[in-house]
């Protein structure tokens, strides 16, 4: 090359900037972080499916819904104390949330450091919209979960001033408020997008998609699961707005 001399000089300035690493451990790798994220994510998927089943009980009316809520607490009695199973589930979910958020934050920070200088022009040709929304979508979901727990579990906030000790009426009062319904529907769309990419991505991270057919199936599975969960959760707020679910 014409300016090989300059390049050789420049290259020598950065010589051996990073030596070979020693004392390596598989559990300290970025892939181990991803496996943690995938595993905790799959726990959330199982949870939201059960949660959705519980929500759909609202179509059965006040008695069916409130009985279900009560049974969640008495499940496993007398082997378990009152609310015992619920607390086991909560503990698993809290641990999963810590793992999911901590690994996401670590990988996010790594990704930012991996490209300090941004492109003036950058196209995304292989990405789906959902895949690029994972991180900020995840932050949105975290904020939603905090609000959701304040709304229905920890705070039991009834913005209409109605009863808070009756799960069914709290649900109906909440979704009779248009802006709360809007928050929930937007959050469910976000959850759908997160699952659309997240489910197949978890399969890939767990090494289950090592050929083209398995990849197509995992992507289809992710899309179907995202649609089922988004639509399943959206039914209750929508039917409450239209007065089908009422008291």
């Amino acid at each position: 090359m014409r300016h090989a001399g300059t390049l050789t000089f420049v290259a020598s300035q950065t010589e051996l900037a990073k030596p070979l690493v020693e004392q390596v451990r598989s559990t300290r790798s970025t892939i181990a972080l991803k496996i943690g994220m995938a595993a905790s994510g799959l726990i959330f998927v199982l949870f939201v499916l059960l949660h959705m089943y519980g929500n759909l009980k609202a179509f059965g009316g006040e008695h069916a819904f409130n009985t279900y809520a009560h049974h969640l607490r008495t499940f496993g009695e007398p082997m378990l104390p009152y609310g015992g199973l619920l607390w086991i589930v909560r503990a698993v979910l809290i641990v999963s949330l810590v793992v999911h958020v901590a690994t996401a934050a670590t990988l996010w920070k790594r990704a930012r450091r991996a490209r300090r200088v941004r492109y003036a022009v950058k196209k995304n040709t292989g990405a789906t919209w959902a895949s690029l929304l994972m991180r900020w979508g995840g932050v949105t979901l975290l904020l939603f979960i905090i609000w959701h727990l304040l709304n229905f579990t920890i705070g039991k906030i009834n913005v209409t001033g109605g009863p808070t000790d009756n799960p069914y009426r709290l649900l109906v009062d909440t979704f009779d408020t248009w802006w709360l319904t809007l928050i929930y529907l937007v959050a469910m769309a976000m959850l759908g997008a997160h699952l659309h990419h997240g489910v197949w991505s978890a399969c890939q991270t767990l090494g289950l998609t090592s050929n083209a057919r398995a990849r197509r199936r995992a992507k289809a599975f992710g899309l179907v699961l995202a649609l089922v969960i988004t639509i399943g959760f959206s039914l209750v707020p929508i039917f409450t707005v239209f007065g089908v679910i009422s008291y």
Partner: protein, 247 residues
Amino acid sequence: MNLTLKIWRQPDPVSEGALATYQVEDISEDMSFLEMLDVLNERLNSEGEEPIAFDSDCREGICGMCGLMINGDAHGPLRTTTCQLHMRTFKDGETITIEPWRSTAFPVLKDLCVDRRAFDRIIQQGGYVSVNTGAAPDAHAMPVPKAQADRAFDTATCIGCGACVASCPNGSASLFLGAKITHLGELPQGQAERDTRVVKMVAQHDHEGFGGCTNIGECAAACPKEIPLDVISQLNKDLRTAVRHGY
């Protein structure tokens, strides 16, 4: 063809760079992209200006030396290497932005040249098989099933150009890693070092400052050798196996 080029100019690794604008005229659409840059450099030389530094070697798409970010696409809009991209892909009067690969692990040496020795160090950590040298073994002394031989061959076509890193929103080299891991892992000769290979190569990858994979798929869409995302699943699976084996 007449074109407006916006090209990243940076005199050395430590100086600030910026996009500079050049007009090129009478470019034949049969020229390769690199020949178009050669024409520009001839003119810059004759005008006493420093020519634009860019990497190239074989110019037939098999060495992996060339690689430019062209209008936001690694190697330009076609799925090929930069040297195999022809000017007929562009329209007369078009503005083309040309940037170097952007990755903390690939520091810019000068203009469009980056230091990709991070890949060499990853290979040093396990991108090989250890064999006793001696007389050449008999052909077919070690049978390899056709499907595995094909997959090993397909993944061995990775030329280490770095387009996967350049196009990845996370600056991850997982496609490169996956290609190497799959290539050697499919063959009987690669089994002895399979666990240590994946752990050491991933550790070096992380140490170099590449990001973690989020399975977005930009890499596979940019790869001039059409290496599929399957190899990243294979990489994850091999790492997970190494965790189980205690490495």
